[in-house]
Subunit: 206 residues, 2 copies
Amino acid sequence: MASLRLSPSLDALVDALAQLPGFGPRSAQRAAFHLLQDPKRLERLERALAGVRENVRRCKKCRVFCESELCPICSDETRDKSLLCVVESVADELALDASLAWPGLYFVLSGRLNPIDGIGPEEIGLTALVDRIEADVAAGILREVVVATSYTPEGDATAYYLIAAVKKRYPHLRITRLARGLPSGLEIEYTDLSTIAGAVYARRDA
Amino acid sequence: MASLRLSPSLDALVDALAQLPGFGPRSAQRAAFHLLQDPKRLERLERALAGVRENVRRCKKCRVFCESELCPICSDETRDKSLLCVVESVADELALDASLAWPGLYFVLSGRLNPIDGIGPEEIGLTALVDRIEADVAAGILREVVVATSYTPEGDATAYYLIAAVKKRYPHLRITRLARGLPSGLEIEYTDLSTIAGAVYARRDA
Ligand SMILES: [Zn+2]
Ligand SMILES: [Zn+2]
């Protein structure tokens, strides 16, 4: 990457921006120059980062990002508290909730199990989730846990671990995964083979 | 874009990131979540922005970003001070200098002339450039000005303005533009028609 070592501060900003997903060294440099073009832009981003650092925390119950002890979803009295959906990330929760298909609550894991990289149940919050399920079962409010992890090897491993842990402790609690199948609006020709295979195995009566 | 209005601070950060070139609302959200995943990332970017705000300024002579009155290029005694290259942006200067083809100095404009949007010679620094050329000519150190603006309508307009201004004042000063032609490593089939036409008109004896 072209760099004249014009300014160590500028280099540090380019390096920090280059760590963001979607940015490489080149686009990070372009973004840094864009910010430098106008001091107001720079200050706006700096203030926004400070605001997030000071105000944003994790919801005590579902671990989504929020600004109070409980997030707007967990404190929403119209939500069906007997349904718990387990997702891999805050982004997944936002996408699911935007689909308007889920009337229940959530629990956000920190990604997926990955034993090779030393990422176990404790690291992704599965232990905290099992504690929550235990408390909800004890309080008699839980009917179903939907494991909404992705259909990837790591997402599958995470789902299997959780399903096994729940079935062992609470054999009568309903535990499901999201349906696997063809995405809407995509021709079969352009769908990957593993998705097509999954849709064939999970075919249903019309 | 999926948003649960979980946190006004988080929304403000996503909005600020979405202003960066290369980012849209979706990638800005992904970047914000990535930063929130680890407080160290957030603080690193915040510190980097503060560092830039406090330390980076424009070189007094060429207007590139730097941390002292004169940038490393302008204070480099081995540079040929009789050659001045005028570029549209700091990024263009970095790219030109990385090519190792330019032994002289630079002057960075703030973009290109665009009368329709009210961007005139004053706004992009052409007036300051003409002042600098005047001083360099008076001091007897300037031999050639290369106008390295892009071959776009606005880049052409900027070049024509500058060339006319210089020729009127200093008819004996050499003023050039970068060669127009085929880029290296690209087949003609994939080159845009205006570039091909430019290369034909500027063809030279082999
Ligand atoms: Zn919550
Ligand atoms: Zn300079």
